[in-house]
Each structure stands twice: as structure tokens, then as C-alpha cells.
């Protein structure tokens, strides 16, 4: 708890910005969803024949997992890309259903005799809606809004994966760093925000209830106060666009490398750099680069070759680099010189097991028939991942490998939930959690040289930035990378601090 307070105190300004982004995301998406869902609900309640298809579509949208929805949206024009706009679209999609349903339920709950009397008294259809149906359906609609907002606050944390910011940044960062304090720094304010917004809407709902007229002043004050706080908070979130946007995928090393690019540019040029770190995977980062959501990020040549360009893997470092560079060029992207380390997959086991069994290499895993394996989703799917590995080494496990989150996999291994996994060769957690890397004795894993990839147009526009990035060529060794990963993951240092120290050490920046 003390650590959390310290973290909050030292990140006050950033947290306010993230909270502001979060509030804006939820408020805007709920407002848009209400603007769509309430009229749709009115139509559906009037025409039961339409209600079924409308609710079915909204239901279907609700069942799409949020990361998958972001994935669908990124390549789309106008509503896609990465950042706030896409997040708003996705959050709106999720918020429509509860509002739509509540509107239909509310209107259907209006006693038919009451509506009949209203019509018979000479109210026009519009007057019937405004004076009778709307006020009677309002409590239900407000409860729908409350559900939508609470869902929205939760889902908006995932918006961090596509660079929309928000409190999810801390949750993803904390997961990457295996640091509960950082996770809490995102999760706790999100929970408080959900409760506050829910309470504010409940108070607003009381305003609408004519039976509680006497309590109005209190409720008005509560709503006004909460709105004022939210406006103040969200005011801090808005900022102008920087010259360049640096991205990264969502694990520690990527965040460090993103920070490295950003600081190198900032220190060598006068350009402003925006950081969109923690993007949710290779595909999202690549699409973000193509759509201009980010201008540069560090990719691994082997990943580009197989996962992006769907080519067979290769162990020839120079050939892979040349192939990938040409492929990127065809997309208007520039592959810049390699940073100097090869982050190949490492097959990891517990250090205790290695000592106990006297193990050295991956081929010895085949003898451990009772072992349980767990891999990240990407590793299980990629051609150069588990399929090739098990063929090359004749591996078979008692149970099918478990699919696990990349961020939890090291801890799962250390805790004995699984016995073998694939991780990054440069992970700082290998040392921190007492894990061991098995030797790739059959040379199965291809090269994964880290190299920045940038939008060609942006590199032409800012040659100084291109030069700054090129100056990093060959400057980052595998040992450097492990050290920086360890500093962030295990020593709980800020990536920015670690990178600053590193640039100071290597000099020239």
C-alpha cells in the first residue's frame, strides 16, 4: 500500500493525464452510444419486427472479445487505425447494447392502459412519448447507462493496447513488469472511476424521478461536482500532436526500446516525440505503422519475415535483413540498421530442474514425458513457433500446451504451473526468477535481430531523427538488453530512467 502511494505521488501528473484520457474515452463513447442506442430502442419498441434484428446485431457485437475487435478495426479506413478514435468506436460498440436493451425494456414496461389514456386524452404521438413514455422508461434507461459506463471503464483499460492511453497503460505496464503496484495504480483508479461514475448517474437518475423532488438540490450538487471534477481532469488530457510518434509492443523490452528511440531522437534533435508504447502485439504495431498511427518502432527481423511477410524462417542474419528491408520498402517503410542484439526465442525451464537433471539443451526435453508446456498465443500460432519446434526436436507432451499471456508465462514457470516455455532470450526475468535457457542444439530458432522500422516519408521529413536512430546501430548488445530488462522488471526502475542511464553510458547522445 505504501509502495502504491509512493508510486502515485511520483507519477501524479502522468496519472492525471491517464485518468483524463480514461474519462474522455468512457464519457464520449457512452454519449455516442446513448445517441445511437436510445433512438434505436425507440424504433425497436415501436416496431417489434425490427426489435429482434436490432438486438441480435447489438448482442453479436457485444460477444466480440475486445482485443479482437480492436484487431478488426485497425485496418479499416476512417474508423480504424490506432489511438483514441478506434478505441472510441470499439467502446461505443460495447456500450450500445445495454443502453438499447434498457430503452426497449423501459418502453415496453409502460402500462398499455396508461398510453391508451394518453392517446385518448388527445396527446399527439410526440407528446405521448415526451410526457408519458419517456419519463416512465427513464429509470430503466438510466440503469442501462450505468451498466454501459461501468462496462466502459473496464473495457477502456484494454484501449491501452492500441495506444489510446488511459489507466490501462499502468495495468499493461504492470503486467509486463510483473509489478503489482503498477497494476494497482491502473486498476484501483479505474475501479474508483467506475464507482464514481455509477454514483453520479444514480444521482442523475434521482433528478429524473419526480417522487424525490425534495432531494433535488443535493442530487444537483452531486452531479455538478462530479462533472466539474471530470471536466477538470479531462482538460489536462488534451495536448497537441508531437513531431514524431514512437511505438512499441507490449512487453518490457519493447517499451525500453521504444523509450530508447524516443530519447535518442529527443537528445540528438529538437523534435518532440510522443510515445505510444504497449501496443497489443506485432500485427497491431505493424498496422499502426502502416496507417500512420506511429512513425517508428523496433521490430525483430525474424518476426517481420515470418509473422508479417509470411515467409519461411531463416537463420541467415544478413539474408533475413535484406529480404525484410526490401519487403518493408514496398510498403513505404524503412528498415534501419540493426541495434546489435538477437532476441531469439529461448526455451526456458526452472534453474532447479536444470541442476537436478543435469540438463543442457532442448533435445533433452523430449525425455521428460510428464512435463507440462505453456506458450504465448503468438508462439503457438507462428510457423517458426511451437509446431516447428516440436517437429525439430520430436517433442510431445502429456497434455496439449497451455495458451498463456506472454506477461504471466515466466511467473507461471517459476511457480511450477508449467515446466517448460518459450520466452525472449533477453528477458531480464530469466535471472530474476531463477530460470535457465536451454541450448538450441539443433539450431532451430531463426534470427530475430532487433532493428527499427520507420515510415519512409517521416524519415525523409526529419533526416535528423533518422540520423539519431542510425546512431544506435550496433550499440545495444544482448547483455545490455538483459540488463535493462532486469532493471525494469526486477529492480522496478522506470524505463525512462534506465534508458537515460544507458545512453549516458554508451555516450554520443
Amino acid at each position: 500500500m505504501n509502495e502504491l502511494l509512493t508510486f502515485i505521488a511520483s507519477h501524479r501528473a502522468e496519472m492525471a493525464t491517464r485518468l483524463g484520457e480514461h474519462v474522455v474515452l468512457v464519457a464520449a463513447s457512452t454519449a455516442i452510444a446513448a445517441a445511437m442506442g436510445i433512438p434505436l430502442g425507440l424504433i425497436a419498441a415501436r416496431r417489434p419486427a425490427l426489435a429482434r434484428p436490432i438486438v441480435a446485431v447489438a448482442n453479436l457485437a457485444q460477444t466480440i472479445p475486445s482485443l479482437a475487435l480492436f484487431g478488426f478495426l485497425i485496418p479499416l479506413p476512417y474508423i480504424g487505425g490506432i489511438g483514441t478514435r478506434t478505441a472510441l468506436v470499439a467502446l461505443t460498440v460495447y456500450a450500445v447494447l445495454p443502453i438499447l436493451r434498457a430503452t426497449i425494456t423501459g418502453l415496453q414496461g409502460v402500462p398499455p392502459a396508461v398510453v391508451e389514456c394518453a392517446v385518448a386524452m388527445g396527446l399527439t404521438p410526440r407528446q405521448v412519448l415526451r410526457q408519458v413514455e419517456w419519463p416512465l422508461a427513464l429509470p430503466s434507461i438510466v440503469s442501462g447507462l450505468r451498466v454501459a459506463v461501468v462496462i466502459g471503464v473496464g473495457t477502456a483499460t484494454i484501449a491501452s493496447a492500441i495506444g489510446a492511453g488511459g489507466l490501462g497503460d499502468y495495468i499493461f505496464r504492470g503486467l509486463a513488469m510483473i509489478d503489482a503496484t503498477v497494476i494497482l495504480a491502473g486498476a484501483l483508479p479505474a475501479a474508483l472511476l467506475a464507482l464514481t461514475a455509477d454514483a453520479a448517474l444514480a444521482a442523475a437518475g434521482q433528478l429524473a424521478d419526480p417522487r424525490r423532488r425534495s432531494r433535488r438540490p443535493v442530487a444537483v450538487l452531486a452531479v455538478v461536482a462530479i462533472l466539474a471534477v471530470m471536466t477538470a481532469v479531462s482538460g489536462r488530457a488534451s495536448a497537441g500532436r508531437a513531431d514524431l510518434v514512437v511505438g512499441s509492443k507490449n512487453f518490457t523490452e519493447q517499451v525500453v526500446l521504444g523509450e530508447l528511440l524516443a530519447q535518442a531522437i529527443e537528445r540528438r534533435t529538437g523534435l518532440t516525440v510522443e510515445r505510444r508504447l504497449n501496443l497489443g502485439g506485432t500485427a497491431i504495431a505493424h498496422e499502426a505503422l502502416l496507417s500512420g498511427g506511429i512513425d517508428v518502432y523496433v521490430e525483430y527481423t525474424g518476426t517481420s519475415l515470418t509473422a508479417i511477410f509470411k515467409q519461411p524462417p531463416s537463420a541467415d542474419s544478413e539474408q533475413v535483413f535484406a529480404t525484410v528491408r526490401d519487403r518493408y520498402a514496398a510498403h513505404g517503410l524503412t528498415l534501419l540498421p540493426r541495434l546489435g542484439f538477437n532476441n531469439t526465442f529461448a526455451i526456458l525451464v526452472r534453474g532447479d530442474d536444470v541442476r537436478r537433471l543435469g540438463m543442457k539443451s532442448i533435445s533433452e526435453v523430449a525425455a521428460q514425458a510428464t512435463w507440462k508446456a505453456g506458450f504465448g498465443y503468438e508462439f503457438l500460432e507462428r510457423p517458426d513457433g511451437f509446431k516447428g519446434l516440436s517437429a525439430a526436436y520430436g517433442l510431445s507432451f502429456a497434455q496439449a500446451p497451455r495458451v498463456m499471456d506472454l506477461n504471466l508465462i515466466y511467473r507461471a514457470l517459476a511457480a511450477g504451473e508449467i515446466d517448460v516455455t518459450a520466452g525472449d532470450a533477453t528477458s531480464g526475468l530469466i535471472g530474476a526468477l531463477g530460470l535457465a535457457v536451454l541450448d538450441d542444439d539443433r539450431h532451430y530458432f531463426p534470427v530475430y535481430d532487433a532493428a527499427p522500422v520507420a515510415r519512409a516519408s517521416v524519415m525523409l521529413q526529419y533526416p535528423a531523427a533518422a540520423l539519431a536512430i542510425r546512431s544506435l546501430a550496433g550499440r545495444v548488445s544482448a547483455a545490455d538488453m538483459q540488463q535493462m530488462n532486469f532493471a525494469v522488471d526486477s529492480e522496478k526502475q522506470e524505463p525512462a530512467t534506465v534508458v537515460r542511464a544507458f545512453l549516458d553510458k554508451i555516450g554520443g547522445f
Binding site: P111, E116, A118, V119, A120, M121, L123, L136
Partner: protein
């Protein structure tokens, strides 16, 4: 002579593909109370709803003050036609006073006149304004709701009143009180009233004329005394049920 308040001219109507009214002709003289009686499904309520255009006839015509309902602006027609249903249909989110003031507000009466009118009507239907103005509908008993519903229907002083089983859900004592109340109000106001009921005693008590509906046709229309004296078994059977019901209660075990 002024035209009848309401005149049905060879009206046929159907609901959900089923013919409910066949060639009904019936006239309601101004200032008179006509009761529509008959079994469930005989078409009483359908006939009533044709008057304020909640429904339109398939053929034939309904004339209100000599003018076809099709020629009336439906909103104007409804605002001069009071409507009372079983359980009153009060707006649950509005106070008793607000409910009564609905139509006067739509007609944009000055607020002082509305206030005065609400008090006047509450007094007329036997509810103390000081007590009942601010009450919510769910704080009223069944009889009080019916009284408030009647007051609401009378608010803009409509010359025509449509009542669909207004006393149907009340206990016998309350029903008796409301019958007396209705008669007192009618003696003062002399409205044209169409009253749908399946209670023959109520029809005899309150109506000037009773129209008996059977399978969508009017098989008798006369004064209560003449209807009671009729020979038609379809009419007398309605009275038969009426006579049997009270006798059924104090049954003695053999």
C-alpha cells in the same frame, strides 16, 4: 334540433382479421347516458373506441356532433371527449393534480385557472383537494383512483364522456358510492355519456338507454324498463346471470 352527440351508421369493424361489429346503427342523444351491455367479445369496447378514433371502422360511419370522425382532427376530437377506463389509467409519474391538469395544460389554460379547475373537480368527485392534490396514483385506493380518473376525464369540460367498465374492479360498497357520485355529477353536468359495462344492474341504474350487443350486432336498444321486459332470450340471459350471482353466495349445504 341539434344532431345526436354520437351516431353510429351501419358500422362494421374487425380486429385481428375477425369481424367484431356488423352493420351497427345506434344513436346517442345529447345529454343522455347510453349503456352498452353484452357478453365478453360482443363488441362493446370496440364500439366505444370508434368514437374517439382509437380504432377506425372498416365500413359505415361514426358521427360526432354530426361530423364523421374521419373528418375530425383526431387530437381535437379526443380533447373534447373524456375517457375513463377500468383502473383509471392514471399516469403513475404524475400527482393526482397533475393528472387532472393534463388536458387543460395541453390546451394552454392559464395556470391559475388550471389550479382552480383541479380543486373544483376534486371536490366534484368527492376527493378533498387539500388531501389529494399532491398524492401519487399508487397512494390511492381503487375507488379513489376511479374518482381521480373521472375528474381527469371531465377536466376540460368535454361534452362527451366515454367510460369503459369504469367501476368494474371495485368492491360492491365502493361501487355503490361511485354510482351515487356519478348520478350526482350527471345531474349537475348533463354530459353525453357512453358507458360500457357487463353489469346489468349498473346499466339499469345509470343509463337512460341500454343497447344490448350480441355477436357484434345491436339486438336491442331501449329504456332500461323496456329492455328488462324483453322476451329475447339473448337479452334475458344477461339478466339471468345477474340474478344468479348474488344467490350463489349464501349457498346452504344440504
Amino acid at each position: 334540433m341539434s344532431p345526436p352527440a354520437v351516431q353510429f351508421a351501419e358500422v362494421s369493424a374487425s380486429r385481428g382479421g375477425r369481424t367484431v361489429l356488423r352493420q351497427v346503427s345506434l344513436s346517442v342523444a345529447a345529454g343522455q347516458t347510453v349503456a352498452l351491455v353484452g357478453r365478453s367479445g360482443s363488441g362493446k369496447t370496440t364500439l366505444l373506441r370508434l368514437v374517439n378514433r382509437l380504432l377506425d371502422p372498416d365500413s359505415g360511419d361514426v358521427l360526432v356532433d354530426g361530423l364523421s370522425t374521419r373528418a375530425w382532427n383526431p387530437v381535437d376530437l379526443r380533447r373534447r371527449t373524456g375517457y375513463v377506463i377500468q383502473d383509471a389509467g392514471l399516469f403513475p409519474h404524475v400527482t393526482v393534480a397533475g393528472n387532472i391538469a393534463t388536458v387543460p395544460r395541453l390546451l394552454e389554460w392559464p395556470s391559475a385557472r388550471i389550479e382552480a379547475r383541479v380543486d373544483e373537480l376534486l371536490t366534484l368527485v368527492g376527493l378533498d383537494p387539500a388531501v389529494f392534490r399532491g398524492r401519487w396514483p399508487d397512494q390511492l385506493s381503487g375507488g379513489q383512483r376511479q374518482r381521480a380518473g373521472l375528474a381527469r376525464a371531465l377536466a376540460a369540460d368535454p361534452p362527451l364522456l366515454l367510460m369503459d367498465e369504469p367501476f368494474g374492479a371495485l368492491d360492491p360498497i365502493t361501487k355503490g358510492e361511485l354510482h351515487a357520485e356519478f348520478q350526482r355529477v350527471q345531474r349537475t353536468l348533463h354530459r353525453s355519456v357512453i358507458l360500457v359495462t357487463h353489469d346489468m344492474a349498473e346499466a339499469c341504474l345509470l343509463a337512460d338507454q341500454i343497447a344490448v350487443l350480441h355477436d357484434g350486432e345491436v339486438i336491442a336498444c331501449d329504456t332500461p324498463a323496456n329492455v328488462v321486459a324483453a322476451n329475447d332470450v339473448r337479452v334475458t340471459s344477461l339478466f339471468g346471470e345477474l340474478r344468479l350471482q348474488p344467490e350463489a353466495t349464501p349457498r346452504v349445504n344440504p
